[in-house]
């Protein structure tokens, strides 16, 4: 009897761990959505594809150009930051003042372009990113924890604290907060809102590159993995669009929910869990768990 209970407990912990690590990835991508939304009131639907592209860049730097692992990661993240800033400058800035729907469509289009580009450069077969820690795991009396899962959780924690530190203490972070609260007022006190927008896009793209690198050892990289961006989007909404901690919480809820639905519900349910949670959330509490008060002005 007690053995059976232990077995069940073990299974639950195992699921919880993989759920948390998956949820962290969703949360990271979701925080990219949230950052851009907070700063520019625009929704970047290409966030998942940016993640895919970041992972591919890391793969290119490490496996093709033979960079050392750490240097390759930094190079990929910096390159993605540059790409993010370029997107903002050439595709998003001309759209200021257009309906939000148009911006949404633009980012969807950008997502398709990135997917085609990745398919063109790296082909459509799945690639694996060589990491020093891939395939290794800890074994605690039957409870198996892959190191890549630990790395994902630690990486997310580190990135979140870095972001929190950045927004709380640095003057650039404060300027970004000011611009996200009221662009006009920020401009009056001498903050260059255009520059802030570019930086925001750069940071969001860099975050998504980190997410891509973290997820690469768990799932192979191919041009289609950007589609988990849609689930991350659901996470952002569940957590409350416009709140960074909310994005992580939403990601965790969806990640864990998905793992449990995969085991305990008939096949097919794990794919729709994220969306079922999203639709339920929209029904009960349309503005998410951690709501930042935003009522539409018409």
């Amino acid at each position: 009897m007690s053995f059976l209970a232990l077995e069940v407990l073990l299974e639950l912990t195992q699921l919880l761990i993989s759920g948390v690590s998956q949820g962290c990835v969703y949360g990271l991508i979701a925080s990219g959505f949230v950052l851009i939304y907070k700063a520019t009131e625009m929704v970047n639907f290409a966030q998942g594809d940016l993640m895919m592209f970041g992972a591919f860049l890391a793969y290119a730097f490490i496996s093709i150009f033979n960079f050392p692992f750490a240097l390759g990661l930094v190079a990929a993240v910096l390159a993605m930051a540059g790409i993010g800033a370029l997107i903002e400058r050439f595709a998003i800035r001309p759209m200021i003042g257009e309906p939000h729907f148009s911006v949404l469509m633009i980012t969807i289009g950008l997502g398709f372009i990135f997917r085609a580009l990745a398919g063109f450069i790296w082909g459509s077969e799945p690639k694996s990113l060589e990491t020093p820690y891939a395939g290794k795991f800890f074994d605690f009396d039957g409870l198996i924890i892959g190191i890549e899962n630990i790395v994902i959780v630690l990486g997310t924690l580190a990135l979140c604290s870095a972001l929190a530190f950045f927004f709380k203490t640095t003057s650039l972070g404060k300027a970004m907060q000011a611009a996200s609260q009221n662009q006009l007022a920020a401009m009056y006190v001498g903050i260059s809102v255009k520059k802030i927008n570019s930086i925001t896009w750069a940071i969001a793209a860099a975050i998504s590159a980190v997410a891509g690198i973290l997820i690469a050892p768990v799932s192979l990289i191919d041009p289609q993995i950007g589609f988990i961006g849609v689930k991350a989007f659901a996470a952002a909404i569940v957590g409350g669009f416009g709140s960074l901690p909310g994005a992580i919480i939403g990601g965790l809820i969806i990640g864990i929910g998905e793992q449990f639905a995969g085991l305990y519900l008939p096949p097919g349910f794990s794919e729709v869990t994220a969306y079922a949670i999203l639709l339920t959330m929209l029904l009960i509490r349309p503005h998410g768990i951690l709501t930042s008060v935003q009522i539409k002005k018409m």
Binding site: E41, G109, F112, I237, L279
Partner: protein
């Protein structure tokens, strides 16, 4: 330049604004009717496909272009229409009834979707519809007893009485009838109080509400009508593709439908038709392009979606009013020929409109 002298309020809501329109649309109809006599079978098939896209485009245009509700999940209605139609056709129910059932059923599902969708606006709505379409796709894949699951479902041949609708010529006429009645119906909806309420809701919910428009009711009806049109298109599309599989109605198709209304020109029925023509001919153009490209470029797996994306981005940045907007500019160039000024159509300077209220 034509100036219409209005002497009567009813002139504002007439279907045809002036005699010229009656003449030109009659000509168009005659040309469309005469196509089967000299066009080859292949082109008739392509035209029928364009008509089907146009019906779906009208459906999405009523929702997105006229009511201002963005749907990223319209492929789901296409799928629901297609599967319902071929399921009932398979049970032996006649073509016309089965098509009507599928239209009604899609409308019903659209009404149900409107219930959660009414509570949210903007991006939330777009994502809610996206979630809905992914759930529908999963249902289509796993409800094996009705849909055949991943194996797919063979669409029975259409016929009315003893007349088979399968040949391209007959099917062309069927689609022509449906598309022209869809245009007529939607024109009439748009000039009715309902259509004007829809436009008012799009332009400003608060002012619409203060004019006594019931927002929930208008939006729900818009969803139902839009889903109905798209379901009709789905039923016809089922015959066109012949074999239904769940992934024929995925996110890419939803995006393609949106691309259609955006490229055609949001907020005009012309736009839906132009968009349909554009989407219908794009694969042919891409196939030609592939033939003429060097080997390396022609092998790109995601070439089509990538080009879709490129066109979408370019249109939204450079011509937000789409093909119809460009056509209006070209027409006014010829109408005012020596006196045309580019600045007439200059876009106004835009500023960020915030949705925040603190």
């Amino acid at each position: 330049m034509r100036f219409i002298r209005k002497t009567n309020y009813h002139q504002d809501i007439q279907i045809f604004k002036h005699d010229g329109q009656i003449f030109w649309y009659t000509c168009l109809m005659l040309i469309l009717l005469s196509f089967p006599f000299f066009l080859s079978d292949f082109y008739l098939g392509e035209l029928a496909l364009i008509f089907i896209y146009a019906i779906a485009g009208i459906g999405l245009m009523l929702l997105t272009g006229y009511t201002g509700l963005v749907s990223l999940g319209h492929a789901a209605f296409l799928g629901i229409g297609a599967y319902t139609h071929s399921y009932f056709l398979g049970l032996g129910i006649p073509f016309v009834f089965s098509l009507s059932i599928s239209v009604l059923f899609s409308s019903l599902i659209g009404t149900l979707l409107a219930i959660p969708a009414l509570r949210v606006t903007g991006i939330y709505l777009a994502v809610a519809t996206l979630a809905f379409s992914i759930i529908v796709e999963q249902i289509l894949s796993h409800w094996v007893s009705v849909t055949g699951g991943y194996r797919g479902m063979l669409v029975p041949d259409p016929s009315i009485g003893n007349l088979s609708l399968k040949p391209n010529t007959t099917f062309y006429f069927v689609c022509l009838i449906f598309v022209s009645s869809s245009v007529l119906i939607s024109l009439n909806i748009l000039r009715s109080p309902l259509g004007r309420a829809m436009t008012a809701v799009r332009d400003s919910e608060i002012s619409a509400q203060s004019m006594g428009i019931n927002l929930a009711r208008t939006k729900t009806i818009a969803f139902a009508i839009s889903a109905g049109f798209t379901g009709l298109a789905g039923g016809l599309l089922a015959h066109k593709i012949g074999y239904l599989a769940p992934d024929s109605f995925n996110l890419l198709i939803s995006i393609q439908l949106l691309l259609m209304v955006v490229v055609g020109g949001l907020g005009s029925l012309h736009g839906a038709i132009y968009g349909a023509i554009f989407i219908g001919f794009l694969p042919q153009a891409l196939a030609l392009l592939r033939d003429n490209l060097p080997e390396k470029f022609a092998q790109i797996p995601g070439l089509e979606p990538g080009i879709f994306g490129l066109i979408l981005v370019a249109v939204l940045i450079y011509e937000p009013l789409g093909i119809y907007g460009r056509w209006l500019k070209i027409r006014s160039f010829f109408e005012e020929f020596p006196l045309y000024r580019r600045s007439t159509h200059k876009r106004q300077r835009n500023f960020l409109k915030t949705e925040r209220l603190r």
